[in-house]
């Protein structure tokens, strides 16, 4: 019987392992097990990929882009995988894409944030099955507007690397459009993995701005929240975090109520009810022990997207295991249902997905001993993602022309 060998790359060690890497791995193994059992609801109810069992080869993303390039080659050339799926780091995504293109092998990026991948280059063999980071910040600003948040001044604290720098740029640009009078007071850029923010918090508290924006994630975000709460930052300023749902289970009651957070999609506690989500959320929670957050959703939607393409290709070729080129043709411009909503490959000539997103406020629930998300508002993909053919930042700066909001 045919199998489909799928290379999966995600952080198993290093600072990103806890927040993204391991949830993603868990999401992958859970999804693949369920698929191989044929236990996923329609339309993904075929066993494996179109009847082929999925055989995952999981490797660690930690160690920098250089290593990832080498490991990608090894996966394709030595381990003969049919496709590689994964990557959380933007730098890694940027680095591996041209290699897959050159080797003419299928590469499915599942999480990384940078819009540059399809804005600066054209790829045939590379897909990204999730929205890039522009959506996170545009949605945040739109949410703040909708909820009438006062923002005459704001401060920012972001890690000093591409994710932090880009997120901040997007947020500032979007704020410039929707809150034209808002002033950026303090703009902090601690280094990645700093873990201790005493000085930064002094500066932020001292700045007394209406809003404190941050794209921190993982351990850094947890540490920032732990250290800033006792020093009264959440009382002085409205905290706004672009990607924070993954720290909620760990933080529990340490998360200040009323914080505005995004999850880079309609994920986890912000996910909407659907047949697929009713399969994924509780199933994952039961198998893994914690409820699924961003990374688990993202890898799940990625695997489902690949499945969707493979099965479409098999419909066309009469049920044979499709070639890479057949899968690519089927995947380009495709769309599919996922627990996080409908994913559409609309950008990058049909290689870059857009998806809906939810933004909400936190509220600790002492009975369930977990943070609930309230005041959720959803934005459809067309409202917060740029239309095809324009670079994200230009789109924001140009007044987000063509956005279709409900």
């Amino acid at each position: 019987q045919e199998t489909f060998k799928l290379g999966i790359v995600t952080f198993l060690s290093g600072p990103a392992a806890e927040s993204f890497g391991v949830p993603a791995r868990n999401g992958a193994t859970f999804t693949i097990d369920e698929l191989n059992k044929g236990a996923v609801p329609a339309p993904h109810n075929k066993v494996g990929f179109g009847g082929m069992k999925i055989e995952p080869v999981i490797i660690d993303e930690n160690g920098g882009a250089t290593k990832q390039v080498q490991e990608l080659r090894n996966l394709y050339q030595r381990d003969n995988v049919d496709a590689v799926l994964g990557y959380i780091g933007s730098g890694d995504c940027l680095a591996v894409s041209p290699i897959a293109e050159e080797l003419k092998k299928l590469l499915v990026l599942m999480d990384c944030g940078t819009p540059r991948i399809f804005e600066e280059a054209k790829y045939n063999y590379v897909f990204r099955t999730a929205s890039h980071a522009t959506m996170d910040n545009v949605a945040l600003i739109r949410y703040m507007k909708a909820k009438n948040i006062k923002m005459e001044t704001f401060s920012a604290i972001n890690q000093d690397y591409a994710w932090g720098q880009d997120s901040k740029a997007d947020f500032v640009a979007a704020a410039g459009q929707i809150f034209p009078n808002a002033k950026l007071a303090t703009d902090l850029l601690p280094k990645f993995g700093a873990g201790q923010y005493g000085t930064e918090i002094s500066a932020l508290v001292g700045a007394e701005s209406d809003v404190v924006y941050s794209s921190l994630w993982g351990g850094d975000l947890q540490a920032f929240i732990l250290q800033s709460a006792p020093r009264g930052l959440p009382k002085r300023s409205q905290l706004v975090f672009s990607a924070a749902d993954h720290v909620l289970p760990a933080l529990g009651d340490k998360m200040p109520d009323g914080t505005i957070i995004g999850a880079r999609g309609a994920y986890g506690l912000m996910s909407r009810k659907s047949v697929l989500n009713d399969w994924f959320f509780p199933g994952f929670e039961k198998t893994i022990g914690t409820y699924p957050v961003q990374a688990a959703y993202r890898i799940n939607q990625s695997i489902l997207g690949l499945k969707n393409a493979i099965e479409k290709a098999m419909e066309k070729n009469g049920g044979k295991k499709p070639t890479t080129d057949e899968i690519i043709a089927a995947m380009t411009g495709s769309q599919w249902e996922s627990p996080g909503g409908l994913i559409k490959m609309t950008l990058g000539d049909g290689h870059q997905a857009t998806q809906p997103i939810g933004i909400s406020r936190t509220k600790y629930n002492p009975e369930k001993k977990r943070v609930d998300l309230v005041d959720i508002q959803y934005f459809n993909a067309e409202c917060v993602n740029p239309p095809p053919g324009i670079k994200s930042l230009d789109w924001i700066k140009g007044g987000m022309q063509g956005a279709k909001c409900e």
Binding site: S13, P15, Q196, G198, T199, S202, G219
Partner: protein, 298 residues
């Protein structure tokens, strides 16, 4: 409260935990001439141990003050024991090798430790924040400070003074300097040099773990803690002059203040500032601020 004052306080808080880590590093280097990369691993180990103890105490409903003391003791003593075992069981085999080879050995140990902590504690973060609330909040001008952070300053000072005193004013310290300078002759004079090595290494790592334990309540304890600490403490030790306690103190304060000043005044520069200081100090004083006196050669 003016900016200057804020910078000084923020800088000193930052300097205090850095100093404790660097102190251990400089101690190990001073005695064993090993630049120990695994030091960061022990910092992480200390944080994990502390977090575990605090969680345990909280689960049992014991008072957080007790948990605080217990976490420090647990981290320190486990690190001491592991450090001594590591020195006796592993490092010893590599003595006499080139300094860089020893560096590679400690790097290997660092890699081992990374995965071992991961195997023991998994990748899920541990939040053990109870002790962080122990000392209340202090309001200074329009800022609040967490009492715990301020307590770090005297704790660091006490550790530094203790080590300095032990090395410079006690007989043991003098024996240590004999071993540092000439192990063979020291052995001939009856010094159990193996014990000195093991203890120095153990104590150095104990300080690393102690610092890790001190920071544990305010951070999220999870993989990846170790690597950043190493390079910071290396920088401090190099700025101060290798093997010097005073140097580590001045180095830590310089780095702490510089970081604080940069955050408040020029946030863009935070990434460089430490390396710039290191480069500048070395340009002016090629062996760090407190150079070690060397024996006459000719």
């Amino acid at each position: 409260m003016n900016l200057f004052f804020t910078i000084v306080i923020d800088g000193l808080i930052e300097a205090s935990w850095l100093f404790v880590v660097a102190l251990g590093l400089t101690l190990v280097f001073g005695v064993l001439k090993i630049l120990n990369i695994a030091h960061g691993g022990f910092y992480a180990l200390g944080a994990y141990l502390a977090a575990t103890v605090v969680t345990l105490f909280a689960a049992k409903g014991l008072p957080p003050a007790l948990g605080f003391v217990a976490m420090l003791l647990a981290a320190a003593f486990v690190a001491l024991a592991v450090g001594v075992m590591l020195e006796r069981g592993l490092l010893k085999m590599f003595y006499g090798r080139d300094e860089v080879v020893l560096l590679l050995v400690t790097y290997a140990v660092f890699l081992l430790l990374e995965d071992i902590t991961k195997l023991i504690w998994g990748v899920n973060p541990i939040l053990a924040t109870q002790p962080y609330e122990l000392f209340g909040n202090v309001s200074l001008g329009k800022l609040f400070y967490v009492g715990y952070d301020l307590v770090l300053i005297p704790v660091a000072m006490a550790s530094g003074l203790g080590v300095w005193f032990a090395l410079n004013r006690t007989v043991t310290g003098k024996i240590v300097s004999a071993v540092i300078h000439n192990p063979e002759i020291s052995a001939s004079m009856g010094v159990k040099i193996n014990r000195i090595y093991a203890l120095a290494f153990g104590f150095g790592l104990m300080l690393a773990a102690f610092a890790g334990a001190l920071t544990a309540p305010k951070i999220s304890v999870q993989p990846g803690l170790s690597s950043d600490v190493i390079i910071l403490s290396f920088a401090i030790v190099v700025i101060g002059g290798l093997g010097s306690v005073e140097g580590a103190a001045v180095g830590a304060i310089l780095v702490g203040l510089a970081r604080a000043a940069s955050v408040h005044i020029f946030p863009q520069g935070e990434l460089f500032v430490i390396y710039l200081i290191m480069a500048i100090v070395l340009m002016i004083r090629p062996e760090g601020l407190f150079q070690r006196e060397t024996a006459r050669r000719i």
